[in-house]
């Protein structure tokens, strides 16, 4: 600590009883962090790979998407790593999106009644999981060819 503070601090996660309302709040932060790091760095790599030409895009393709049947062990490990990243980033995107929409409603002063608040928090989780599953299915069938 750089300086001592006598002001009261907010209790951390382990103090609160878990509920959809508090879970969606911390998930908004966690997913925002994932999008700002893994999500945006992969986006930049993708854009620069497109701009860099065919050979440059082939490198992105080999490590991120699929190294093909004759890929080395390291390349295949990268593929699976990036599939995990893609799934995490996709879920984070939808979770942050629906949670953000919920924030717009709260910003207007609506949705603070206990039951309503709980319902929309749960709905955002359900919508995010559903949308992630939908995208995963589309990608699996179209891009990877599973």
């Amino acid at each position: 600590m750089g300086h001592k503070t006598t002001r009261p601090l907010s209790p951390h996660l382990q103090i609160y009883r878990w509920s959809p309302q508090m879970a969606i709040s911390i998930m908004h932060r966690a997913t925002g962090f994932i999008l700002a790091t893994a999500g945006m760095l992969t986006l930049l790599w993708w854009l620069s790979a497109i701009g860099g030409g065919a050979s440059s895009y082939a490198v992105f393709q080999k490590y991120v998407v699929s190294a093909g049947d004759d890929g080395s062990g390291f390349e295949l490990a990268c593929n699976w790593f990036f599939r995990l990243v893609a799934l995490t980033v996709t879920f984070s995107f939808f979770q942050h999106l629906f949670s953000g929409l919920r924030h717009f409603v709260l910003d207007m002063g609506a949705g603070y009644e206990l039951k309503t608040n709980r319902t929309w928090a749960l709905a955002a989780f359900v919508a995010a999981i559903f949308a992630t599953a939908l995208v995963a299915l589309v990608v699996a069938s179209r891009v990877i060819g599973v």
């Binding site: 999008l35 854009l47 497109i50 065919a54 999106l97 717009f104």
Partner: protein
């Protein structure tokens, strides 16, 4: 506690009167993100294939390059505002906080400029072979 004097405010006992603009910018960029990332996701789902040549021609079009550049500005700005709050909440040491904020600023400005330059180069000079 502070009596609302100037020195009291400097010591953190009053509002810095800058909170509103941060909050508004976060919401404005959030609306931008909502529109522009929805556009990107829809574009990706409608993409005929993911060959480099197809993607380069697509990205070089003004109707794609412009929203892509706008999206980069919006998401990196939004990330700057969001990660700033994370640092303020979780990094308590003043020196570490200053260093983390500096790194964050370098990251978002560097990342956004890198992305914008990539898109602009494609749009202005055409796709590399």
């Amino acid at each position: 506690m502070g009596s609302g004097t100037n020195i009291g405010k400097v010591r953190g006992l009053g509002s810095a009167k800058h909170g509103g603009s941060h909050w508004i910018s976060q919401r404005t960029t959030a609306v931008g993100n909502l529109l522009l990332t929805t556009w990107l996701v829809a574009s990706l789902l409608l993409m005929p294939n993911f060959d480099q040549a197809t993607l380069a021609l697509w990205l070089a079009k003004p109707s794609v390059a412009v929203p892509m550049i706008l999206m980069l500005v919006s998401i990196f700005w939004h990330a700057r505002l969001g990660l700033q709050v994370l640092i303020e909440d979780y990094v308590h040491d003043d020196a570490l906080k200053f260093g983390a904020m500096t790194l964050l600023n370098f990251y978002v400005v560097g990342g956004a400029v890198f992305g914008i330059f990539t898109v602009a180069k494609l749009a202005f000079t055409g796709a590399a072979a």
